[in-house]
Symmetry: C2
Subunit: 531 residues, 2 copies
């Protein structure tokens, strides 16, 4: 395995000086070779000028050509073999089996978007043919379709070094839409990023597509990211990470002379409500499920349940006891990098310092700081404390959760009403519980992008029906998802063609419907030709 440690701008490894940095393996705290060169502002500019130049031809490639390109990226990633998994393992501390699964998800996402664009209905083609004899005024011929936005900036996420980084869901959906992509690599896994960037770059070459369609830039600070968002040629931004980071990018984009959309998936506590019947009938099962969902991936999923709500009583006391035992038995495990591990421990300290918040359980086995380890933790508190303390409404990223005791059903509703926006909200109950749960579900529907009954929010299916989004601060734009086929809709805008002769129209809008798309023609959804 060899690395050049440089930025990759339109296929060319580029080094501009600046203080290089080495990633540190969370497995042992040792730096990994080589050092990586941060991008300069000139690199940012070069990457966007290349992306903008590439847009002209890349945006006009056929869906089939882009689909083949995405599939080539997928096989190139598979061809990286164990080298990729090993490097990702050393850079992130994630176990190899998890990374193998994540690689599968990554290539499946690329292949899924290839199918989405081959099928073509995402472009929402609409045709209203001319009515030259209409009184009082004739109707012109009008045809509307989604076209790609332009160059898109994607920020690699630390917690999904493959599925939400260089060739992850944001990049795959943007490329599928026809947008060139400039990725800001996450500084915790620059080697993994370089390998995957090579896979994309080689696929562009193999497919005869412009090299400027993709660039990768490194930086272990915030300058390069902000410069990318502020660059006049940038047209949209995809980000998965902290509330502070996402909000900074959103604010920068909103302050531009011409604001651009930012799709930041940021912060969610993913509340779980345990209704009385479920507590009574399934305490053991619930405790096990909660433990798995809180500690899976060392609590580093955006959908980790950070809040558990239930009405106080014997059953809840019993559940607390079971959860306590389950959490104590969880062995500490390495977090993604030292920064996250430090934040996690200060988060725990902050929780423990709030009056009325009681530690319920912590992993019994001691943490090994040299291995960047975190133990699991659960705290408990009363609803009055939760309603008062805004600090308890903030995400602590890592394997911990807060159990909040409500005094009664009305109090449970009050707690639900007090929540900020969330990616998910879950309710566990029996059929009988659900007969009374209408008001709770109604509140939660306004708070969250995904509602689950009798399940756990971790494990986000990649499919057409998934919505991985939600009201602020879960995301900066509740109308869009970052997971599933609908994620492509973030990178497109409609254009209407009025009075265009057939040969000047995109294929998808021509009368004959050569691609066999489902289209809205004169008010009817049809795959037939327009007349």
């Amino acid at each position: 395995m060899s690395f050049h440690g440089k930025n990759l701008i339109a296929g060319v490894p580029t080094q501009s000086g600046g203080t290089s940095f080495k990633p540190v393996s969370p497995l042992n705290g040792h730096p990994l070779e080589p050092a990586f060169s941060p991008a300069s502002l000139a690199d940012v500019n070069a990457a966007l000028i290349s992306a903008d130049a590439a847009f002209s031809s890349f945006s006009r490639t056929t869906a089939e050509a882009r689909a083949v390109f995405l599939e080539t990226v997928a096989s190139n990633i598979v061809d990286l073999g164990d080298d990729l998994l090993q490097r990702a393992h050393h850079e992130t501390g994630l176990p190899l089996d998890r990374l193998t699964g994540e690689r599968g998800r990554t290539v499946n996402q690329l292949r899924m978007f290839a199918e989405v664009i081959r099928e073509g209905s995402w472009r929402d083609a609409r045709i209203d043919t001319a009515l030259p004899d209409r009184a009082p005024l004739p109707r012109p011929d009008l045809r509307r379709i989604l076209v790609p936005l332009g160059p898109v900036i994607v920020f690699g996420a630390s917690n999904f070094p493959l599925a939400f980084s260089v060739a992850g869901g944001d990049t795959a959906s943007a490329l599928a839409a026809g947008c060139p992509v400039v990725v800001k690599a996450h500084p915790a896994h620059p080697g993994t990023s370089e390998l995957v960037a090579g896979a994309i770059s080689r696929a562009l070459e193999t497919c005869g597509l412009p090299a400027g369609t993709f660039s990768l830039l490194h930086d272990n600070g915030i300058e390069v990211g902000l410069a990318l968002v502020n660059h006049p040629l940038s047209c949209g931004v995809g980000f998965t990470g902290s509330h502070r980071g996402g909000r900074a990018l959103f604010d920068a984009a909103a302050r531009r002379p011409n604001p651009i959309p930012v799709f930041a998936e940021m912060s969610s506590l993913n509340p779980i409500f345990l209704l009385p019947g479920a507590l009574r009938e399934r305490g053991l099962q619930l405790a096990g499920g909660l433990k798995n969902s809180i500690t899976g991936g060392v609590g580093q999923f955006c959908t980790k349940p950070g809040l558990i709500f239930a009405i106080a009583g014997e059953e809840l006391t019993a559940l607390s006891g079971l959860l306590e035992k389950a959490i104590q038995a969880v062995p500490p495990a390495p977090m993604l990098h030292a920064g996250i591990c430090t934040s996690y421990h200060s988060g725990l300290k902050h929780l423990a310092g709030i009056e009325g918040v009681v530690p319920l359980a912590h992993s019994e086995q001691p943490e090994d700081a040299a291995q960047t380890q975190a133990g699991a933790s659960v705290f408990s508190t009363k609803s009055s404390v939760f309603l008062k303390e805004k600090g308890l409404h903030e995400e602590v990223f890592g394997p911990c959760s807060l159990l909040v005791e409500a005094s009664d059903a009305a109090d449970l509703l009050e707690l639900a009403r007090s929540l900020d926006g969330q990616l998910t909200a879950t309710v566990h109950g029996t059929d009988e519980d659900f007969q009374q749960a209408g008001p709770l579900l109604e509140i939660l529907q306004r708070k969250a992008g995904r509602l689950l009954l009798n399940g756990f929010p971790t494990g986000v299916e990649v499919c057409a029906s998934m919505h991985h989004g939600g009201p602020y601060p879960a995301t900066t734009d509740t109308r869009f998802t970052s997971v599933g086929t609908a994620a492509i809709q973030r990178w497109a805008r409609p254009v209407c063609f009025q009075n265009f002769p057939p040969e000047a129209l995109p294929e998808e809008l021509q009368n004959a419907n050569p691609r066999g798309l489902l289209r809205q023609v004169n008010g009817q959804l049809t795959k037939a030709a327009a007349i």
Copy 2:
């Protein structure tokens, strides 16, 4: 015709003190009775609390119930009869035949959205059924649909006192989606606004829907508008007006602790490119068409062509001469209000003061200031001046345009590249011209939301294929339209239901498909029941 001159909060006329104001008729400069009371911050709060409370039941009404409500609003508006048209005529100076047409458009929009929600495919229902035996992990049952955002703020527009004001396109689409609406009335036509607000309010009563679904607030300053956008219960904003006004609302919404979407349709110069063949063959026709499009509605359409580009030469000189004559013959006419008229005249003065900008023609008949009149104006300049002077890239709202002479075809492309975002861009040419026009159209597609060939941008068809939007500063969100059926998509967000029993799902997501919607079921678009 009698007016209470008060705000209408959840059906109740409300007066809070504050300095009342009288609209001034542009027809004669005289104030119109009665005085209108501005809303207080307490009124803003009351309107939003009522809207939020109404959301709970209004958002869950059936599509049929909301469709009947929208149709009732439409008939109530028709039932206002000549009173409405007369009042609008006196408040805006617009001629009665134009207002009759605009009323027709307004009620048609309400009826169109009734049909859109009856048909139901706008909700983009998607179902992925459970795969309990899938390895390595089962797939849960996932179902996704668009649900309404919550209370929406709509700002009445001065230039469409009916079709883009109290019951205009923004309000109709938001109500159709299931969102309560609080309208900030435009201070130039508060009486028209009061009449239409009554029509909506009575329809809510007739249909047994919560009165809080609609409120109307007055103000002749900016405080009420900003307070509405900043209110924690507001979930989205629709605005048509100036760049300055729209940007101020966008900035306020982006600075909120939880930012909300602002759909502001603001500023567009709607460039028209005249290619050599068209100039040669259709000069007279082009001059007449340009004159009509520049001066129709006294130039107060968002799609008025404010820029004309062509290559210098004999044919262009001939067209200039024809356009000069046509413009000189245009009689001055009243603008919407004194403020717009003053801005128009300072805009003309500003253009005339730029070195290299030459007045080409002005209405010969003198303007009558007592009647708030504006004459038509055309200026001309060279491309070098246009490329240098940012002031020439700003909209002058009113019946004027700027003819820009390019030196050759390459210069024409350079001019196209220099443009900001636009609602529309138009190219006039012959078949031969269009064989060479690929690069120009490619540039314009990145600049505008609607591209027209051999037409004029004024006259915006209300249909499924219309896109009335465009890159900033044409709008604050290029991905959405404010005209046509797709306008409803601004007011909704997806929610995913995981593992919900059939009876807890919205009708649209139930297996049997009782509403007969086209849905995406396990990857297939179908109207069939899910299994």
